[in-house]
Symmetry: C2
Subunit: 590 residues, 2 copies
């Protein structure tokens, strides 16, 4: 037996007992007569003492232990004289009688400490060492507990976890698929699922009533920071439900996991129309920890001789409370920030509401005190506040100012730590018109139902009608992060066909790609609706962290590579020939 106890469980009550522990040498400290070793495992750290007077040979060997050596120690538990109250095992230590080195360790390329000296690349390459560090270990353990909690909750509500296939069919709708060549079916490919969408709908047609799955999904996208080609969803679907049932069920789930894992009681989630979210926050995922709603200034800012505003569709402001004291340099910084190509604003107007009741703005030439007072009135600004104003096209300006709002809040520490502000964003548009490709895209996905009262308009309306259709689609947002989204689904063949037609499918294409689903709708499909939560994102948001990568044991880097195992990699010619494939890499001759 390698151990009688783990390194986190011995207490004062165990004093006098003979024990065996195994673990990693966190650190050794040599005080001449006494050598102390902190022995670490997943469960904690226990102090081991080697006494030179007791056993010189043993103490000698202990002194030679390096960091991260794996050892087994036998000894007796005794009370510590200098207790460590910060450690669960801090009241005791083990006076060692035997020591066995189970495995040596080279000096790690970075320190295994909460604050490590290792850079990103190095830690990714030695991920198994990085994973030893407390912050990462806590994240991975949290993730495991969250999954268990989600499963227990949904299992208790009659949800069945049903596995859907990973080797499915490629469809051009949505993001790019990863494909898998089939050896047994020459020239043909499977695709890895971007989500189990069609399968969970078929499970509803099959009568399973309540389905969920914590499941890997795949998207071959150009990677941005904090996006992963494989990611995990809590994927759910319910039959014989309306939107309200789904919202209540998953609000319940969210409250449950916050209570169970974080000890936080969330109140009822507010709801917001999509249109209001865009209007007030310039975003479909408003961070409600931050105030500073967008205020339209058109009627007080236009036709006053300032050409930039006069030519704009929208003049829009946020009030930054108590920030009238920003320096010229800080304000220039904000201006430069919004002018970066990622944001794309042409400029930024500011108004300082001075303590003495006067105003100082970057457009004093065009707007006198009286006029600026009207801006202040409109935005509710008081002495000491700062107004930031952007103008231009309506939607773009709102988005730019919405981004600035978040940037300012972060930059000036205006986001209260440890608070969680959930929000349902509702009534998304069904379709999105894309001017470039001159076609509609599905705002959520092609299986989303228009609101019941919109069905008639959808089946009979003209082009402009389609732009204004609202869907029974909803997103859960927490602290400005999209946790998940879902919709009521179409379950009628004719309506589904109409939607595919609007999305630019020919009837043949629709049949070829989704004929199995539309066929299923003809054999008794119940009304159904569902939702999917981003599991990685939920983990990070619940812990107030921004990177999902720190909650994934073995993530890919921004180039989609696993630098630890060095994947992807070339495969040999035999494998390619078996798959009836050839490389068509530039410069290659195959």
């Amino acid at each position: 037996m390698f151990r009688t106890h783990n390194c986190g469980e011995l207490r004062l009550a165990d004093a006098g007992n003979d024990v065996t522990l195994s673990g990693w040498v966190q650190i050794g400290r040599d005080f001449g007569g006494l050598t102390f070793v902190d022995l670490r495992d997943r469960y904690g750290i226990t102090q081991i003492v080697f006494d030179q007077d007791d056993n010189a040979e043993l103490a000698d060997r202990a002194r030679k232990l390096g960091r991260e050596f794996v050892i087994q120690v036998k000894g007796t538990v005794r009370e510590r004289t200098n207790k460590n109250p910060n450690r669960d095992t801090g009241n005791i230590e083990i006076i060692a009688s035997e020591l066995k080195v189970l495995n040596k360790a080279k000096t790690p390329p970075f320190t295994i400490e909460d604050d490590t000296d290792g850079g990103d690349e190095l830690r990714m390459q030695y991920r198994y060492l990085d994973l030893r560090r407390n912050p990462l270990q806590e994240n991975i353990i949290f993730r495991s507990k969250l999954a268990l909690s989600v499963r227990a909750y949904l299992g208790g509500k009659e949800f069945l976890e049903i596995e859907t296939p990973f080797l499915i069919k490629s469809t051009p709708e949505g993001a790019r698929d990863f494909v898998v060549p089939s050896r047994l079916n020459e020239g043909q490919f499977y695709a890895l699922p971007q989500s189990p969408q069609t399968f969970k709908q078929l499970l509803m047609v099959a009568g399973y009533d309540r389905y969920f799955q914590i499941v890997k999904c795949f998207r071959d996208e150009d990677l941005r920071a904090d996006r992963q080609p494989e990611f995990t969803q809590i994927d759910c679907e319910m039959a014989f439900v309306e939107q309200e049932d789904v919202l209540n069920t998953f609000e319940g789930l969210t409250k449950h996991v916050f209570a169970e894992l974080k000890g936080i009681t969330l109140g009822d989630f507010p709801r917001m129309q999509y249109d209001d979210a865009i209007r007030l926050y310039g975003s479909d995922k408003p961070d409600l920890r931050v105030g500073m709603e967008l205020v339209e200034l058109n009627d007080v800012a236009q036709n006053q001789g300032f050409g930039v505003f006069d030519g704009a569709e929208l003049v829009v402001a946020i009030r930054v409370p108590g920030k009238a004291d920003l320096t010229r340099k800080q304000l220039d910084g904000l201006t430069n920030w919004v002018k970066r190509p990622q944001i794309g604003a042409k400029g930024l107007v500011y108004v300082k509401c001075n303590a003495d009741g006067t105003y100082k703005s970057s457009v004093d030439k065009f707007f006198d005190q009286e006029k600026l007072a009207k801006w202040a009135e409109k935005t509710g600004a008081e002495a000491g506040d700062l107004l930031l104003v952007i103008s231009g096209e309506d939607e773009k300006s709102r988005t730019q100012l919405g981004n600035l709002r978040l940037h300012v809040a972060k930059e000036y520490d205006m986001i209260p730590a440890g608070t969680f502000k959930p929000l349902w964003v509702m009534d998304f548009p069904l379709l999105e018109w894309d001017e470039d490709s001159k076609r509609f895209h599905a705002m959520h996905h092609p299986f989303t139902s228009p609101k019941k009262e919109e069905v008639e308009r959808m089946l009979t309306g003209d082009h402009d009608t389609m732009k204004s259709l609202k869907a029974d689609a909803y997103d859960l947002v927490i602290n400005g992060a999209e946790i998940g989204g879902g919709s009521v689904r179409i379950y009628d063949r004719a309506l589904q066909e109409k939607n595919f037609e609007l999305l630019g499918f020919t009837p043949q294409e629709a049949e070829e790609q989704f004929g199995f689903l539309m066929g299923a709708f003809e054999y008794g499909a119940p009304p159904h609706a569902g939702i999917a939560f981003g599991f990685d994102r939920l983990c990070s948001v619940m812990n107030g962290q921004s990177s999902i990568r720190d909650f994934i044991a073995f993530p890919k880097n921004n180039q989609g590579r696993d630098v630890m195992i060095d994947a992807p990699a070339t495969i040999d010619g035999g494998q390619l020939r078996e798959l009836s494939l050839a490389l068509a890499v530039e410069g290659e001759t195959e």
Copy 2:
């Protein structure tokens, strides 16, 4: 709201209440004045009554409902006059006041009944209809419950469920990988994991101590009946453990799920040496529900003038209790069965132990009564028993007779229904010599450790020594099905290198493919061991069924195709070009 109750929950206590139900029309029965509809959902069936006298229009509409129509009914619960004790809701019925057709249904291509008239292909094509049938639904629900039970048990034992990546690196060892071309890394491929083996070992190196995952794995094999290209494992690994710890933990898990899901208490699992399993049952997965152990007859059957036996390495028999009365035709049937190419025996000798104490054999010409009596003595045969004897090469003959043993047991109903006989098979050989390729293969996998006392022999021994090395490898077998297997792992770089060398890897190949793992062994790798259960197989064995396909919601057929969604399929040229690939299909010009 679509329903106040589901179709399985109303009881006599609900009589008088107004309710709303939704579900599928299982069947309608028209008795003129009264029309009865059995309304079905996942939870059960409730009888709905439409009364012509009450509401003629409603009854009229009810008469027109077809099978599998999706309807919503409002009405009042009342006590039934003719109760149905076979149904949980059998004491009540709903007298309908409103009826709404939520969706029509075409006549299904096969009946949605326990015994359907649909053939395999048709049911696979309309899987969403097949999944409505009780037998399949029970299987899928069982699977969901089993997963929940496994997770709760392991979660309660400090196991963490940790997701490992699906997009990894192809390795030539083992079965064929499915590969996934990388668009962002031109000419390179990911592979889908055949198991999370190396990642779970890295998690042990990373200190996670106890890992599990219920996870999809992938093997691109030539498909046989009841094999799936994607399948599910309960994958586990533990650090600071010996073989005994793993066996105890997973014996505990197995007992737990049998108790919780089947109400069956399993006693302690017997253990058998691999060598004994082969010797006594001609199989490394003996079905202990069947007796009929193999008995060697060399000393009583050879050198008696029967050339076939005399030239054989082994003469081996089973005693079939009480089957001396098989007819000549039945015995010929058995002979033909073992001579099929799948079994490959040259012939079959039988001895009937007649009720009167005499013997009748197919080799009476060579063996008189006295000699046959010795066979009977050796095998413990009594009057009424039948001996079946095969001869030839040792291992082949045992395998053939082992197969015959199972065939006879099935054919003559000698397997007790509803019994479960678990068994640990232990001490597998480490390496298997392959005469064709003139190299060793790993019996379990290349990460398996030889038994501790064998390490020295492995590091220093000659070729023949290697053939005889035993590993700390074990399989769990239930009723003759391999539920899972595992091993103690190598955690020392030098030993791992030696194993790769024995398996025919050059040092460069070993480094290229598994350098990350061997590197990890140098940074403090703890002793560790693990196991993986086939989850699909566990489901089927626990339910006394032979097909794993019936426990998978959307399985592939024997050609690896999903005939419902029609996958795999061709992808368009643009997709191929993006992946820097070209088809090399015969006859194609690309």
